[in-house]
């Protein structure tokens, strides 16, 4: 059994960690949540896919830069006014370019970006198949026979 002093320590430690964890909840987005859960989820989805151009490796949901908060406010307003997701994406791209999206659209400038994984994977398979094929006819080595 912990004595009373230890209990107090545990309690205050717990209280402190709850406080620290809870601060994330009222952290950076002061926008009131939408009453309609589907609007709220499309808002959350969008702000988690839009790049903050000031702090480039963060989404505007993660960033407390003033520009990020302006963009959250703008997107919040647009959703409130009934704008659809493609409309908002088009609004952002017209102003900031494709770079503002973490999932850029597939077109003539981004095909290599999207295609590279498939191209590299295919190349890898080709090399792999070639190596396998060249080894097929070979007799087993002594070590392999021992297995």
């Amino acid at each position: 059994m912990p004595n009373s002093q230890q209990l107090i320590n545990i309690r205050s430690g717990l209280g402190l960690s709850i406080l620290i964890l809870a601060s994330a909840a009222w952290g950076i987005d002061p926008m009131p949540p939408f009453d309609d859960p589907s609007l709220e989820s499309s808002y959350q989805e969008l702000i988690n896919e839009v790049r903050c151009l000031v702090c480039q490796n963060q989404t505007i949901a993660d960033s407390n830069a003033p520009l990020a908060s302006d963009l959250r406010r703008e997107i919040h307003q647009m959703i409130g006014n009934g704008a659809s997701r493609p409309e908002i994406v088009e609004f952002l791209v017209a102003r900031y370019g494709d770079f503002v999206l973490y999932r850029p659209p597939f077109h003539s400038k981004t095909w290599l970006l999207w295609g590279a994984p498939i191209i590299l994977l295919t190349l890898g398979f080709l090399v792999f198949a070639r190596i396998l094929k060249s080894r097929m006819g070979q007799p087993l080595s002594e070590d392999e026979i021992a297995l």
Binding site: L53, Q56, P66, L67, D70, R73, R95, Y96, G97
Partner: protein, 184 residues
């Protein structure tokens, strides 16, 4: 059997070429999709007199600069001296977009450091800045007389950049410097 060695070496060389190129690029520079397109319409209260407005109509009919600035922006402080110099040369009218700033601090800044602007629009909420795709002050737009965005510079403006990037574009736009004033 030479190809066995050539393949990894050429893969390595191609990768190195990409990396070397990548290191020399500036990741902070995001090209503006507005280039060559009509500048976004705007109308905002003026910094010096909130009862008067400043907007697209004031910029039209002349080649002009729109400089996005704020007193919290270190780069703006850095370029301010050059902007004042530029305004004294009287070649191109300079307009300001005061971005997410405090009015009194901004007025202090202009009275202490000099005011290179014909007028500054006061964009307290940053809404016009979003329309213009502004993401990091200072930014300077070069606008044609029909309102087309000719060029955008993101970073403090210097004499070198002015001479190499702005002047040739202004001259090819109006044929001379300063631009002849349109009669309308």
């Amino acid at each position: 059997m030479m190809w066995r060695y050539l393949i990894p070496i050429s893969v390595f060389l191609v990768l190195s070429a990409f990396f070397v190129k990548g290191l020399s690029l500036n990741p902070r520079y995001v090209p503006s999709p507005l280039l060559g397109k009509p500048a976004p319409e705007f109308e905002l209260p003026r910094l010096k007199d909130p009862n008067l407005s400043l907007g697209s109509v004031d910029l039209e009919g002349q080649v002009s600069l729109l400089n996005v600035w704020a007193t919290w922006c270190v780069g703006c402080r850095q370029e301010h001296g050059f902007l004042v110099e530029l305004s004294q040369e009287n070649n191109v009218p300079i307009y300001g977009l005061n971005w997410k700033d405090d009015r009194n601090t901004a007025l202090d800044w202009l009275s202490t450091l000099g005011d290179p602007y014909i007028g500054s629009a006061f964009d307290e909420l940053g809404e016009v800045a979003i329309d213009w795709g502004v993401y990091g002050a200072p930014e300077t737009f070069l606008l044609a007389s029909d309102g087309t965005v000719l060029y955008k510079h993101i970073a403090p403006l210097t004499r070198d950049i002015w001479t190499s990037e702005f002047l040739p574009r202004i001259i090819s736009e109006c044929g001379s410097i300063p631009c002849p004033i349109a009669n309308n």
